[in-house]
Assembly symmetry: C2
Homo-oligomer: 299 residues x 2
């Protein structure tokens, strides 16, 4: 079944037109890879310089600003779309322009949160148009299409988050897209599972890194550090608009993770304040064992 | 002055006998490097297998267990010593055996905390024996002499922490030792400055990594993670006995750092709970700016 779909995809897909809406870091990378493999790719972005950059490098063969003359044409011509927008902008876009999509259209996204986004969008689509959500976990500290070439898909996770509204064909299409893009680790999670997972593996870590940098201005100590601070705060360089979106859209999960983390840190602090050596050593052994188990699961 | 000392060190030092007390990860590495450069190195360790390992690989030319027949001889023959012991054991050792050291002896240590250690030890030394404390910031997640060969000194910081009891000659000796070992970044801090710095750049980071691993058993999510969790928790693999010592000996500084960090994380949590998008974005911009300044100071 999967084999057949993949084959169909490879054989017939070159006639289809892909439209990338939002040519940021990831949208730009999708355009670059798909065009590089011979697919017909167009693009929409609200920034004219981004469109020029994409066209000059042949990431897209045509581009349009929202509301421009060509915009409606590009949207109506699209067979497949990828939305590289922040969640709020993505939802607004579908509300405003979703009716332009023709029956048979399939589309996906790159959004780092899924609840409150996938099901509302699926509910407002015209008949015959299908949204299969996915999350390429290949973000970086940089943003914008000028950094797209630096993105590496192969070692990253690609998560597909189907709902009961999705068809096996659309799920297979999304998987084939991930394979075309070069992802080696493609998995499927429910929308809820995805957001719980991302609250821990990504958002909590970013919250900690931001907290550590905001706690005090210790930049004068940078010259003394080993790898510890560097590793813990690398992800504190953060796109403020996008991460505010991601945090707010996954607020309950992230607050739950922060609370669990703070409880553990408070326990450590209490044991330290009480001079409880055995209690500290117990936490260190637990953290060591969990981290070791974790290393064994690394790719 | 520094040049002369270094020259004297290089010319006359090969006749001196170095004794490494505690052949762990760092003590073992000191022995390996000094022996490899032609210095006369002996060793003391409470583990017979460690002594065998060190002798078989010619890290030391003679070794002894504490309390053994050869022990007193090795201590009395030593001109220079390096203590690779945990703080408590180091203090106990000097109390018990310090009187065996002969006038003219210089020694240093590798301890990650300095207050409560340096001044008490200096106060109990026989006349003519000098302790100049230092901290090679080259620790790893591993421990023990079997991992010493993996330690890299060149990119690490070497901190010398003199007190008013130290002579310029001893400080120069310690600096020359660091150069011989291959450290490129050698600096001097007061005992108090060192412990404040280490409470932030090392201990707070380890406390956070341990807290993150102890917060909940999310090892089932390891297969979904990007680099974030991996980077934040690498140092959660921790030597429980040593780190309990380091935390407890620097309790006040570390608790202060944890409190500052928790206040920042709580601020982030509050802004998140209140849906304060502008407040979150402000924190993200601050963390980004500080981390960027930090990157510029990296070696």
């Amino acid at each position: 079944m999967m084999q057949d779909n993949t084959k169909n995809y490879e054989n017939g897909e070159k006639q289809k037109t892909w439209l990338i809406v939002g040519l940021g870091l990831l949208g730009g990378k999708y355009a670059q890879v798909l065009s590089g493999k011979g697919y017909r790719v167009t693009g929409i972005d609200c920034d004219a310089a981004t469109l020029r950059f994409a066209q000059e490098r042949a990431y897209i063969r045509a581009g349009a600003l929202p509301g421009s003359e060509d915009f409606t044409t590009l949207v109506q011509q699209a067979d497949y779309l990828v939305f590289g927008l922040y969640p709020t902008a993505f939802l607004d876009w579908i509300k405003q322009y979703g009716q332009l999509l023709h029956p048979g259209v399939l589309f996906t996204d790159v959004s780092g949160v899924k609840r409150g986004l996938v099901e509302p969008i699926q509910a407002m689509l015209p008949a015959g148009v299908e949204f299969i959500a996915s999350h390429p976990m290949a973000g970086r500290e940089t943003s914008g299409i000028t950094h797209s070439a630096e993105v590496a898909f192969a070692p990253a996770n690609f998560i597909i988050t189907p709902t009961e509204k999705n068809t096996p064909a659309a799920i297979a299409w999304c998987r084939a897209l991930a394979e075309t893009l070069g992802f080696c680790r493609i998995t499927t999670l429910s929308v809820a599972e995805h957001d719980r997972m991302i609250g821990y593996v990504s958002q909590l870590c970013h919250a900690i890194a931001v907290g550590l940098m905001c706690a005090s201005d210790n930049t004068d100590l940078a010259c003394y550090t080993g790898d510890s601070v560097r590793d813990l705060t690398r992800i504190a360089r953060i796109n403020d608009k996008m991460w505010a979106e991601l945090f707010l859209w996954n607020k309950d999960n992230l607050i739950g993770e922060i609370d669990m983390f703070e409880a553990a840190l408070t326990q450590l602090r209490t044991r330290l304040a009480e001079g409880d050596r055995a209690g500290l050593e117990e936490m260190f052994r637990l953290s060591t064992a969990r981290r070791a188990a974790f290393d064994q699961k690394e790719p």
